[in-house]
Amino acid sequence: MEIPASGDQIMELTGDKLKELTNAIEDEEDDDEELDETLVERLIGLTEMFPDSVRNAVCSAGSFSWKAMQWSFSFSKSAMWVAVSAGTILVLPVMFENERAQMLDQQKQQEKQILLGPHSAMSGPGMVPPGMLPPGMVPHPHQWHPPPASS
C-alpha cells in the first residue's frame, strides 16, 4: 500500500486507511515469526556468507584431519605390535640369558666370600674389617663344605 508522499494527503491516514496500514505491518511481523528456523538451519544459513571455495576448503580440511587421525592411530597400533613382537623374538632371550649369567656370577662370588672369608672377595690389600676374624686365625682351606647345589 503506497504511503502518499505529499503533505496534504497525510490527513487521509486516519480511520480506515490507518487501520489497514497497521494491519499490513502486523501481518508482515507475523510472517516473520512463523518462519521458525531451527538453530542448525540458521548456522548453515550463516555459512552462505562465505564464498564457495572457502567452504570447500574448510570441509576437505576437516575430513582430512579426521581421516588422518584414524589412519595414524591404526598405523601406530600396527607399528607398536610389530616392534614388540620382533623385540620379543630378537632381544628378549639375550637379555634373560645375560641377567641369568650375571646372577650366577654374583651367587658364586657370594658363596666364595662366605666360604673363604672376606679376604677372598676383596681386592685391596690389608682390608681386614675389625672383628671379622679372631686374632691369629686364618680360614683353613680344607674345611670347606661342598657348595649347595645351584639349579
Binding site: 613382537s85 620382533a86 623374538i89 632381544v91 640369558e97 645375560n98 649369567a101
Partner: protein
C-alpha cells in the same frame, strides 16, 4: 634347477655336518695365501644366519668309537609333514690326518623309513687335492654329484659334475677358479654348463664373477652374474669375541627380486648359550637360541620366526629341539 645358481646342489652348510666334524678349508701352513674354495665364499656370513625350524626336533647322537658316530633324529612338524619322521644317520671319520682338526676320509649318510637316502663322501688324496661325492635318493629318483678341488698356493680350482646322464645327455658341469690377487683381495669366476629337458633351448652356459675382500676383522664377498644381472653380496664383521654381525644382499633383475638380510650372533659364555637373530626385508624376523644344559651333554634349541608381510595375517612359527650328545 636354476642354472644361475648351481650351488643349490651342494648341501646346506651346517645342518648335516656335526660341529666337531666341520672341516676348515684352509690348511695351517697356507692360511695366509689360499683364498678358500669358491663354494665357501659366502660361508662365513651364512653361518651366522639362524637355522630356524618349526615344531619339535629330537636328536640323539652317540659315538660308538672315536671314528664312528650314529645319530637318530625325530622331526615333528605341522608345516612340513613330508619332512616329519625318523631319520637314522651314521658318520665315519677316517684315519688320514692332515692337521689336528681335519681327518679324511669322511663318510656321512642318513636314511629314513621311506628309503630316502642322502650320502656324502669327502676325501683328500693329498694336501692339495680333495674330492667330494654326494648322492641322494628321494622317492626313487637318484641324483648324484661329484667334485674335485685343487688347492694351490694362492689359488683354488674346482670341477663339479652333477646328475650326469650319458644316455639322455643331460647334466651340469661347473668349473670354479679363485685366485688371490693381493693379500686382502681374491678374485674368481664360475662357469656353469647345463644341458637338460627343462633348460630353455636345450643347453645353457652362465658365467659369474666373484671377489673376496678381507680386512682386519671383516670380510666382504660378492658374486655377480652379468648375464642374469644378479648379484649376491655378503659382509661379515667380528665386533668382539662374542658378537659377530653379518649382512647379505641378494638381488636379481631377471626375476625382479631383491632381498636384504641383517643378522648377528651373540655368545653368552657364562650362560652356555648361543643366540642368532636375523631380520630381513621380506618383513621376517628369525631367531634361534641354543642353550647347553650342563652338566649333562644336552642342548636345548628354541627357534622363533615371525613374518609381518601382511599385517592382518602375520605368521608366527616356533620350534623346540633337544639334542643329546
Amino acid at each position: 634347477a636354476n642354472p644361475s645358481q648351481p650351488s643349490s646342489l651342494t648341501p646346506p652348510p651346517s645342518t648335516d655336518v656335526p660341529p666337531e666334524l666341520k672341516i676348515p678349508n684352509v690348511f695351517k701352513e697356507e692360511v695366509s695365501n689360499n683364498p678358500g674354495t669358491f663354494e665357501e665364499l659366502h660361508r662365513k656370513c651364512k653361518e651366522l644366519f639362524p637355522q630356524t625350524f618349526e615344531g619339535g626336533r629330537f636328536l640323539v647322537s652317540k659315538g660308538l668309537s672315536s671314528h664312528f658316530q650314529v645319530s637318530h633324529t625325530l622331526t615333528m612338524s605341522q608345516l612340513s609333514p613330508q619332512d616329519s619322521g625318523y631319520k637314522f644317520g651314521a658318520t665315519y671319520i677316517g684315519t688320514k690326518q692332515y692337521s689336528p682338526s681335519e681327518a679324511y676320509p669322511v663318510l656321512m649318510g642318513d636314511i629314513d623309513p621311506s628309503l630316502n637316502l642322502n650320502a656324502h663322501i669327502i676325501h683328500a688324496f693329498s694336501k692339495k687335492v680333495r674330492t667330494k661325492l654326494q648322492s641322494s635318493v628321494q622317492e626313487g629318483k637318484f641324483m648324484g654329484q661329484g667334485s674335485v678341488d685343487y688347492l694351490g698356493d694362492d689359488f683354488s680350482t674346482t670341477l663339479t659334475l652333477g646328475n650326469i646322464d650319458l644316455l639322455n645327455k643331460t647334466g651340469v658341469i661347473v668349473g670354479h677358479y679363485l685366485q688371490r690377487v693381493t693379500s686382502s683381495v681374491a678374485l674368481g669366476a664360475e662357469l656353469v654348463y647345463q644341458r637338460g629337458p627343462r633348460v630353455p633351448g636345450g643347453e645353457i652356459t652362465v658365467l659369474s664373477l666373484a671377489s673376496k675382500i678381507t680386512g682386519e676383522n671383516w670380510l666382504f664377498t660378492a658374486n655377480v652374474c652379468p648375464s642374469a644381472v644378479a648379484a649376491h653380496c655378503c659382509y661379515y664383521h667380528k665386533v668382539n669375541e662374542q658378537l659377530h654381525i653379518g649382512a647379505e644382499l641378494e638381488s636379481s633383475l631377471m626375476t625382479r627380486e631383491s632381498v636384504g638380510k641383517g643378522c648377528y650372533q651373540l655368545e653368552i659364555p657364562g650362560g652356555n648359550a648361543m643366540f642368532r637373530g636375523s631380520i630381513d626385508t621380506n618383513w621376517t624376523v628369525e631367531a634361534v637360541l641354543e642353550k647347553k644344559l650342563m652338566p649333562l651333554p644336552f642342548t636345548l634349541q628354541l627357534s622363533g620366526t615371525a613374518n609381518f608381510a601382511n599385517i592382518q595375517k602375520s605368521q608366527y612359527r616356533f620350534g623346540i629341539g633337544l639334542v643329546l650328545g
